[in-house]
Amino acid sequence: MWDYTPIVKDHFLNPRNVGEIPNADAIGEVGSLACGDALKLYLKLDDNKDKIVDAKFQTFGCASAIASSSALTEMVKGKNLDEALAISNQEIADFLGGLPEEKMHCSVMGQEALEVAIFKYRGIEMPQHDSEHDHGPAYPDYEGEIVCKCFGITDAFLKKVIETNSLTTAEQVTNFTKAGGACGGCIPKIKDLIAQVLGEAAAQTRVRPEKLSNMKKMQLIQEVLERDIRPLLWADGGDLELIDIDGAKVQVAFRKACAGCASSGNTARMVEAKLRDLVAEDIVVEEVSA
């Protein structure tokens, strides 16, 4: 059954702003027939060429693709170009009262079409990709190495989506971008990209609380393990269990694919780095075989 909110359903059954704008100032096109969804967005600007006075769309795709496009056109009207550019895919989803996670790629497509339209209007170069896969890249403005050959999606685009939506698993990346959703051949690469982005993010944001009570520290360690670390391990079929916390010493046992894995030492270091970043600098992670 459809897992859509009443707002999604309404925008699908009664889409706003369907059609073309003959003298549009900006047009953004993303997706293709082969990808299973595509969106062409038309924007009309006011005389000062800054404010969006009209927006229309044509969409090929599922109900949530049509609803996301409809929502997008409603959201951008009356905004100036910079304000429009600031709209995130999450805001499109929020406007609709939320989207099922496996449909988040529809909101990404909307945000992307908007960005392409405005970049093009401003004369920012849109490099076209020349690659061997059977159809053109879904998001031609993100130059880079094609990671997902089935849908023509580049590493640059994936990294952007991973970062803006704080994605931590390959499955989430598939839901948001479709990458990895067909043959699955690129899933290892997607995992690498997630690790890269997470590494960069950790280096940038040290939002570590200054001083922690022991109780608070233990709580935080558990939170970080649950939220940031275990999902990463699950993605590779592994897992870990928190055995004990003694001051700064955190004992963990690796489970499933991680248990007895030759690189579990590296995994333990990864866990340690993460905990040091997010909890306290003096944390030492020990692997135990409990």
């Binding site: 459809w2 699908f12 059954l13 889409p15 369907v18 096109e29 027939l33 082969a34 299973g36 969804d37 595509a38 969106l39 062409k40 044509q58 969409t59 090929f60 795709g61 599922c62 109900a63 693709a65 049509i66 496996e102 059977d134 159809h135 089935c150 849908f151 598939t174 479709k178 959703g181 067909a182 043959c183």
Partner: protein, 391 residues
């Protein structure tokens, strides 16, 4: 809103006569058929009757019928058994368009070191028997090919395939879940060793299946424990569902002619009317021999989920091979294997009828679907350029 149910390849309504047949076996006649006392014995005799009824529909002997929990279990049991029976044979042959109950299992076995060959199909979904002859060898333990495809209804030449399998000493299994009850099957005149059936596809309840096992075929059970089903499938019999399935098989036999005349007539009228009313459409598997109740139509430049949701507004229940409804993002593996162009693989809709389908329901679909397709094409950025106004 009254539903117009044209999704009978997904599941079917339990026939009321079937439900009445099973009803006493919950609160009144709840005995265990394996018990020695009279109370279990009267259930046992109904289970035996059901076994005879199922066997009659298949042209089989009652002791060739093993009751299971579902078609998927039957498929798993058949393939697992063959590999245990022939531990030295490490090759499995199946097709690219099988149901996941077979395909996923074969691909998992590939991970475990078995050699798995997936035979291809042509543009009309027909099996490449020549490829089967080429790839089969003395290492092949089992050939598992569906009798009829769930998405397109295309019927495979399973008898010929079974002969080829036997010529190399391999076992032959067919997932006949979609075929049974829709087309006549006679195992007495067949070379097929094992066959899977699912109750809920022929107006019996969910949770009951059958594995047909030809007399004399070596077999290793998937479930071990008690002596039920002559130790070929342990676990207390789902007596009520077995009794229901017996009745459903009896009814299916009685309706077989109507299925291939009346139901087929409605199916043909549906697809002919839609094809003439809607440009840029094609029948998936239209060039092949198909089940009488199934038609899968691809509409170019529109996406399946959107069509289904709009149909649903009129109470019409159909299904799509579209990526967007299945969780996977690739359009149906069946349509991809057939080489259906990407331009329309995403916009395929399957209608599957049953003996409950009425002419009035078909009329509603013929009336409501063309404007839905036109509306979505008007919305699509590809519609206009490709269709040149012919929406």
């Amino acid at each position: 809103m009254k539903e117009i149910y044209l999704d009978n390849n997904a599941t079917t309504k339990v026939d009321e006569a079937v439900f009445e047949e099973m009803r006493p076996y919950f609160c009144e006649l709840y005995g265990n058929p394996s018990s020695m006392h009279f109370f279990g014995g009267q259930v046992q005799s109904k289970v035996t009757e059901a076994r005879v009824r199922v066997a009659e529909l298949l042209g089989a002997s009652p002791d060739e019928i093993i009751f299971t929990a579902c078609g998927t279990e039957s498929d798993n049991a058949a393939i697992r058994s063959a590999l245990e029976v022939f531990p030295d044979r490490r090759h499995i042959i199946t097709s690219r368009v099988e149901h996941p109950a077979v395909l996923t299992q074969c691909r998992n076995l590939r991970q475990k070191g078995y050699r798995v060959t997936e035979i291809g199909v042509d543009g009309a979904g027909r099996l490449d028997l020549e490829e089967l002859k080429t790839v089969i060898d003395d290492d092949t333990a089992i050939v598992s090919l569906m009798w009829a495809n769930n998405e397109t209804g295309v019927i495979f030449p399973v008898e010929e395939a079974a002969k080829i399998a036997k010529s190399k000493g391999a076992l032959f299994h067919s997932d006949a879940v979609q075929a049974i009850g829709k087309i006549p099957i006679n195992m007495a005149a067949s070379h097929i060793d094992m066959l899977s059936l699912s109750g809920h596809k022929l107006h019996a309840p969910k949770g009951i299946g059958v594995l047909y096992l030809r007399k004399g075929t070596p077999f290793r059970p998937l479930l071990v424990g008690g002596h039920q089903e002559k130790s070929r499938r342990a676990g207390t019999e789902n007596a009520a569902a077995i009794i229901a399935l017996g009745k459903a098989c009896q009814l299916a036999g009685q309706h077989m002619d109507a299925e291939n005349t009346v139901v087929k007539g409605m199916r043909d009228r549906l697809q002919d009317s839609l094809m003439s009313a809607i440009p840029h459409a094609r029948i998936n598997g239209g060039g092949a021999e198909r089940l009488p109740n199934t038609t899968s139509i691809a509409f170019e430049f529109v996406e399946g989920e959107a069509i289904l949701l709009l149909l649903s507004e009129f109470g019409i229940c159909a299904s799509s091979g579209s990526a967007c409804t299945s969780g996977s993002l690739e359009p149906s593996h069946v349509l991809r294997a057939m080489g259906v162009p990407f331009t329309c693989a995403h916009g395929s809709i399957r209608f599957s009828l049953s003996r409950y389908t009425t002419d009035a329901e078909i009329d509603t679909v013929i009336r409501e679907l063309p404007p839905i397709i036109a509306r979505l094409r008007m919305m699509s950025p590809f519609g206009r350029e490709h269709l040149q106004g012919k929406v």
